[in-house]
Symmetry: C2
Subunit: 278 residues, 2 copies
C-alpha cells in the first residue's frame, strides 16, 4: 500500500464556517484567503440575511473553493407531515447550494428518540428518494455523513461506514455518496475496508478532520484540534488517499474551549496542527 | 420467535452496589432484601476495609444471590511493567470474587489514548491469556463487557458484541464469556445476530440494563432509569431470553442526577421502572 501525501501547504485545507463561528462569513473568507487556505465549507447559519448567490460570487472572486453546504438531512419524524416538511427543507438546501455554487450538501440523516433505528433508517431512505430528483436537476451531490453511535438517539441512525454504504447501495446513484468524518468513525474496525468499498463505488465525497479529547466533557462541543486527542488522523487520511480520494481535508471543530479563544489564534493553531498531525 | 417473559416480581432483579452508592454494602443488602430484590453485583469499592468472605456470608444469610464482582480488566498500558501490574490486579480480583463467593468477574477491557485499538486489543488478549489459569483454578467466570464506542479512547478497545465474540473465539474457554449491557450496545445493528452467536457458544454470562438519556449531559454519569430514555430494553431482553439466557437483569446506573436523590426513593423508582420498562 502506498502512503498518503505529506501536507506541505494549505491548498487542500478547507475550514468549516462553524469552526470559526465568531467571524461573519465575510470576515471568515478574507481571513482564510489571507492564510492561504484553499477551501471553505459553508454552514447555513452563515448565510442568514444574505443572498447566497452574492456570497458565492465573493468566494469565487477570492479563489476560495466552495466545498460543501452544511447541512441537510434530519429526515425521520413521528408524523408524515413533519417528514414532508423535512423533505421540503432539504429541497431548499439543494437550491441554496446551487445558488451559492457549492457542489454538494452534507446530510446528517436524523433519528427520533424512542423510534426504532430500523424505522428511522427506512424514513431516511424515503427522504433521500424524495430529494434525489432535485439533486439531479440541480447537479448537486448529497454526502451522507455517518455519525458516531453516541448520536444515535436524536441525530442519526446511520452510525457507521457500513450503514452509509448500505444506504448508498439502495440507490446506486452517482450523486449520492459519503462524507467521512474521523470524529465519528475512528473507532470502527471496519473503517478501512468500508472506505475501500465506498471508493470502488465512487462514493468518497468528503473528508472531515478534528480530534477526540480524553476526557471529552461535552457530547457535542468538545472536539479537539488534530493532535490534541487520540484519533489516528494521518492513518485515516491514508485510507482515503490510497483509495483515490484527492479532495479537501475539512476542519470541522465544535469546541466551547476553542470558541472562547481568539479566532485568529485558533486559525493559526488549526494551520499548525494541520501540517503536523493531519 | 417466542417473546421474553413478563417481569412480575423482583426475583431476577439484581442491583449493582454502585447504583445505590450512597449506601454502604451492609445497608444496601438489607434494603435490597427488604424490597424483595433477588440479586446483587458488588463493586470492589464497596468491599474496602471489609473482609470479602464475611460480606459473602452476610449476603448468603439473606438469600441475596451474588451475581458478579465489578470490575477487572484495563489490560492495555504503554509499558510491560504496567501491563504486568494490571495482570496482578486482575488475579487479585479473581481471588476477591472467590472469597466473596461471586461466580464471575466483569472485565472492562481497557484502552490507552493514542495507542492503536489493534495494539490495545492484542494486549487485552494477552492479559486474558495470563489470568485464565487463575480463573480456572478458582472456578470464576470472566465476563467481557463491550463498551460503547464513546469509551474507545481510554476505557475499552472492545466496543461491540462482534469484537467480544472474536475475543472469546481466540480462547473458546467455558469460563470466558460476555456481559451484555444495553447502554453500550443498543445502537448496533448486529446486536441480535451477535447475541445469537454468543448464545450458541454458551457465552451469555450477564445482562445489564439502564437507559440512554436525550440529551446526555455527561459521558460517564448521566444514565437513565429504564423508560427514561430511548433504549428498547424489552426488545434486547427478548434477544437474550429467546436465545436461552435466564440470568439476572442487572440495574447498573451511573447518574449524578439520581445519586443526588434520596436512595430509598431511587430504589423504588428502579423497581417500578423494572416492571414497566424492562
Amino acid at each position: 500500500m502506498t502512503t498518503a501525501s505529506t501536507l506541505e501547504d494549505y491548498s487542500r485545507l478547507c475550514v468549516h464556517t462553524i469552526t470559526t463561528k465568531a467571524w461573519s462569513i465575510e470576515e471568515a473568507m478574507d481571513r482564510y484567503v489571507a492564510a492561504g487556505i484553499g477551501g471553505i465549507t459553508v454552514w447555513q447559519d452563515a448565510l442568514k440575511q444574505r443572498k447566497a448567490s452574492l456570497i458565492g460570487e465573493q468566494l469565487r472572486a477570492r479563489d476560495l473553493s466552495i466545498v460543501s453546504l452544511c447541512r441537510g438531512g434530519f429526515f425521520p419524524a413521528k408524523s408524515a407531515q413533519e417528514r414532508q416538511q423535512s423533505i421540503n427543507d432539504n429541497r431548499r438546501s439543494i437550491e441554496l447550494a446551487a445558488e451559492l455554487g457549492a457542489p454538494s450538501v452534507v446530510l446528517v440523516c436524523g433519528a427520533v428518540p424512542g423510534q426504532s433505528l430500523d424505522t428511522s433508517r427506512q424514513q431516511i431512505s424515503e427522504g433521500i428518494a424524495a430529494i434525489l430528483p432535485d439533486a439531479e436537476a440541480a447537479g448537486i451531490r448529497l454526502s451522507i455523513e455517518p455519525l458516531h453511535p453516541m448520536y444515535a438517539d436524536d441525530r442519526s441512525a446511520i452510525n457507521s461506514m457500513a450503514q452509509a454504504n448500505q444506504l448508498c447501495d439502495q440507490f446506486d446513484h452517482p450523486l449520492l455518496g459519503i462524507a467521512v468524518d474521523v470524529y465519528h468513525l475512528w473507532w470502527d474496525d471496519q473503517l478501512e475496508q468500508q472506505i475501500q468499498i465506498a471508493a470502488k463505488k465512487q462514493r468518497l465525497f468528503a473528508f472531515h478532520i478534528c480530534d477526540w479529547m480524553t476526557p471529552t466533557t461535552d457530547l457535542l462541543n468538545d472536539r479537539g484540534l488534530m493532535g490534541e486527542g487520540c484519533i489516528p488522523v494521518k492513518t485515516i487520511r491514508n485510507y482515503m488517499e490510497t483509495n483515490g480520494f484527492n479532495g479537501f481535508n475539512e476542519v470541522e471543530i465544535f469546541s466551547n474551549r476553542w470558541w472562547q479563544a481568539n479566532p485568529e489564534h485558533f486559525l493559526q493553531q488549526i494551520q499548525q496542527s494541520y501540517l503536523k498531525h493531519s
